[in-house]
């Protein structure tokens, strides 16, 4: 260990020399260690500074998704005074570091004796017309120039907003001021495609509001292509960047564009479902940014859309995992064709805004979840399972947020029923897949090559398993009855499928794998012989998957 510390300090000093020598930047140490060699070095460095009292453990938490891991957050101190924002995060298993990230200052020399008393600081921070929400705290602030400065900081509220302010602890001069998050986010209202009024979490920017949700943990942004199909095409197919000016905006925070309102609200609600029901933090469980895109075409322009783009950008919604800023993935929602009728799966229907159905929005977001977890290959049976998991989570999100019923904005086992309207609403049924020509039994599965081997068709088999495991009933093909757990216990089956599809399934899974993993998940979660295990087992048997 003794040999490691000098090496680490040498690395730190080298980094500092680069920084200071070139641009007089702050003498900071940037830590990013994930490889074994780096971890050995930096763990020694962090431990040495911890022993010297310069780093102190602020918190130690266990990540529910990785219960063996302990994530320590260490705060840098200089003579007992915290250095503002200077932290190191060390993730370890049984004391062995798995990753270390941080940005701390080299040991400091400035005095920690303030000339300003606490009451003087309070007076200065309060200002003429404000009041302090939090009492002043002594800290070491690293200025933009790199100079460390002993400062008092407090949070002041006044008519102009809520600000964190730093003042020099020797002179009282203001060093830094920034708005606290409360003033940046805003809650707007708008009407969705079915005329329902809902709230949207947005950001005030200048005199306008933009569809950038700052209240949820991940960055959640909705981009408005404003009917510019070539631009939407460039973004999706050619990797063109999205700009801040593309973000959907509204002047008075009373949003009037239904696809924007629905997409922005429903993506947020889907994130909420995953968080509340499964403890998952978004797409990758690490709050990867959520990006939605709407208005690739205007509804009235559907007829003039090039035929080769109609199916993708108008009458469709999709997840593009490699699109968007930093390739974080984009959920695209077409606007449909309004009152124009189509024959879809043999059914006469009108097709409205795809973002207007919460299950469609949740379906697309779930593709991102699958991509970040099991990675089910989008072909043949694994592709059908991929589609099915999106349908299952879509229905689950719908039941989580909407009242049960068959009307608009109500929860049922139809998919996309608020978008596809006609004599028969929706475009798939989990209760009776055959309504839309999909198989409800493995013996009826599509074995051709179109649609990647029938991924949107064969999903009906596992969709029906999910339905039967909850509601119970008899499979129309096999005639086998299933005793479901009941609607009041739907959470159990949702958790079983989530665990199986996110954690247990391999990327090239088959229906048989899905049977095995869901039964195992039911045992893991509720025990062997439990009602969920029985329901899931019976359901798979009923659809002919063994």
């Amino acid at each position: 260990m003794n040999r490691i510390i000098p090496a680490a300090i040498a690395i730190g000093a080298f980094l500092v020399s680069l920084e200071v020598g070139l641009a007089q930047q702050p003498p900071a140490v940037f830590i990013k260690a994930t490889s074994v060699a780096d971890l050995r070095t930096w763990d020694g460095y962090v431990t040495a500074r911890e022993r010297a009292g310069e780093l102190q453990v602020l918190s130690a938490e266990r990540d529910p998704s990785l219960p063996d891991r302990v994530v320590e957050r260490l705060q840098q101190y200089h003579q007992g005074v915290p250095v503002w924002g200077a932290q190191v995060v060390r993730d370890s298993t049984d004391g062995v570091a798995e990753s270390i990230f941080g940005d701390v200052s080299l040991p400091l020399t400035i005095s920690t004796e303030p000339r300003l008393s606490m009451s003087d600081a309070q007076r200065v921070l309060t200002g003429d017309s404000g009041f302090l929400l939090r009492q002043p705290q002594l800290t070491v602030l690293s200025l933009e120039s790199g100079d460390p400065r002993l400062a008092y900081t407090g949070v002041q509220s006044s008519d102009t907003g809520v600000f964190r302010i730093f003042i020099d602890a020797q002179t009282g001069a203001e060093l830094l001021r920034y708005s606290e998050i409360e003033t940046q986010s805003a809650i707007g209202t708008g009407r969705g495609a079915i005329g329902d009024r809902k709230k949207v979490s947005v950001t005030q920017q200048g005199g306008a509001y933009v569809a950038d949700d700052k209240m949820r943990p991940p960055k959640l942004t909705t981009y408005d292509m404003r009917g510019d199909l070539p631009r939407a095409f460039q973004v999706v197919d050619q990797g063109a960047p999205l700009f801040a000016s593309d973000i959907a905006s509204d002047s008075d925070n009373d949003w009037t564009d239904p696809p924007t309102v629905d997409a922005h609200a429903y993506v947020g609600l889907t994130y909420d479902y995953y968080f509340k029901r499964h403890g998952r933090r978004g797409l990758d469980d690490r709050d990867r940014p959520l990006v939605a895109m709407v208005n690739g075409t205007r509804q009235q322009d559907w007829a003039s859309t090039p035929p080769q783009l109609l199916g993708l950008f108008v009458l469709n919604a999709f997840w593009c995992g490699a699109c968007g800023p930093g390739n974080v993935g984009v959920m695209y929602f077409g606007n449909g064709a309004g009152p124009q009728g189509f024959i879809v799966n043999g059914v006469q229907q009108t097709i409205g805004y795809f973002s207007g159905s919460i299950d469609i929005v949740a379906h697309e977001l779930t593709h991102g979840v699958t991509q970040s977890s099991s990675g089910l290959i989008y072909l043949n049976e694994s592709g059908a399972l991929n589609e099915s998991f999106s349908d299952i989570m879509g229905a689950s999100v719908e039941f989580f947020h909407q009242p049960v019923g068959s009307g608009l904005g109500q929860a049922d086992y139809l998919l996309g029923e608020d978008t596809f309207r006609g004599g028969l609403n929706g475009n798939r049924s989990m209760e009776n897949p055959a309504l839309f020509g999909d198989p409800d039994h493995y013996s009826k599965r599509f074995t051709g090559t179109t649609d990647n081997g029938g991924v949107h068709t064969n999903s009906g088999i596992s969709n029906h398993v999910f339905y039967l495991a909850i509601e119970g009933g008899t499979n129309r093909t096999s005639g086998l009855a299933v005793q479901g757990v009941g609607a009041a216990n739907r959470e159990q089956i949702e958790k079983v499928f989530y665990r199986a599809f996110v954690f247990l399934l391999p990327a090239n899974a088959t229906f048989s794998n899905a049977r095995g993993t869901t039964i195992q998940a039911a045992r893991d979660l509720y025990g062997a012989g439990s009602a969920p295990e029985r329901a899931v087992t019976q359901a798979w048997t009923a659809v002919g998957v063994n």
């Binding site: 009041f131 929400l133 939090r134 509220s157 809650i187 707007g188 209202t189 009024r197 809902k198 709230k199 979490s201 209240m215 949820r216 943990p217 609200a265 947020g268 609600l269 909420d272 968080f275 509340k276």
Partner: protein
């Protein structure tokens, strides 16, 4: 106001009874005249106990998360000690004019209830109940008094009734905006420091009371007093309007008596 007038009339009446030489005395056999007070200056220094002023409540609304948030504050005005000093001078027969000052300072713990709309959903407010300590009330009152000495046969005893206008100045800490903190998913809220203010107001009220003293020596004694001094004033409300607040109240106590 009617109550004030009635009390003033009672006090003035008592004073009149106390200082009048009954006309009937002319027709009766002469009786020995009660001794006229020979001392002209009277001073009292009292420690008092003020019964609780009436508690008061305030409520306000403010826009939050595209709906309306509400909060109610119930201020509990605790009874407590007060201090009073008064002096008077005899101006005619048994009638004296005096002036007194009293001060009352107490905690006014506040029970707050609030309903804050959810940021993501309509009609799903989060509720908050919180007891806030540390709020104060300070009352300073200047009492102008007409004092009537009630003749007593025992020269060690001295009784006075008095009344008159009081000038109240009140400083009350109030909650202008409830504070709360919330974290994702925002389904509940927890108390946080709110926006507080200290509001001040002055208003004229009245006082009336009686004082009984026993003098060990010619000039020094002890005494007890009981009085009511109060008024109702409109303090600034968190809603931007005003809220009626009763100040003062019934006070009783005792202390040093001097006369010269």
């Amino acid at each position: 106001m009617r109550r004030t007038t009635a009390l003033v009339v009672i006090v003035v009446g008592l004073a009149a009874v106390a200082i009048a030489n009954p006309a009937s005395a002319q027709t009766r056999p002469p009786v020995p005249r009660r001794p006229q007070p020979t001392d002209r200056i009277f001073i009292s220094v009292d420690g008092m106990y003020q019964a609780g002023s009436e508690n008061f409540t305030d409520s306000a609304t403010f826009p939050a998360n595209a709906e309306t948030a509400t909060f109610n504050s119930a201020y509990d005005v605790k009874p407590g000690p007060a201090f009073s000093i008064a002096g008077s001078g005899l101006v005619w027969r048994q009638l004296a004019i005096g002036i007194g000052v009293s001060r009352f300072s107490r905690e006014t713990p506040t029970a707050v209830t609030a309903s804050i709309p959810h940021p993501f959903f309509f009609n799903q407010p989060r509720s908050l109940t919180e007891d806030i300590a540390g709020f104060h009330r300070e009352e300073l009152a200047v009492h102008v008094q007409a004092r009537a000495m009630v003749p007593m046969s025992n020269r060690h005893m001295q009784t006075m009734v008095y009344g008159g206008p009081s000038f109240f100045s009140v400083k009350q800490d109030v909650l202008n905006r409830v504070g709360y903190s919330e974290t994702y998913p925002y389904d509940s809220i927890t108390p946080a420091p709110g926006q507080t203010a200290s509001v001040s107001k002055s208003k004229v009220g009245f006082n009336a009371g009686a004082d009984v003293a026993y003098f060990f020596t010619r000039q020094v004694g002890v005494g007890g007093t009981a009085q009511y001094a109060g008024t109702t004033m409109a303090l600034s409300s968190a809603s931007g309007g005003t809220v009626d607040v009763k100040v003062g109240g019934f006070q009783a106590g005792g202390g040093l008596r001097l006369r010269f």
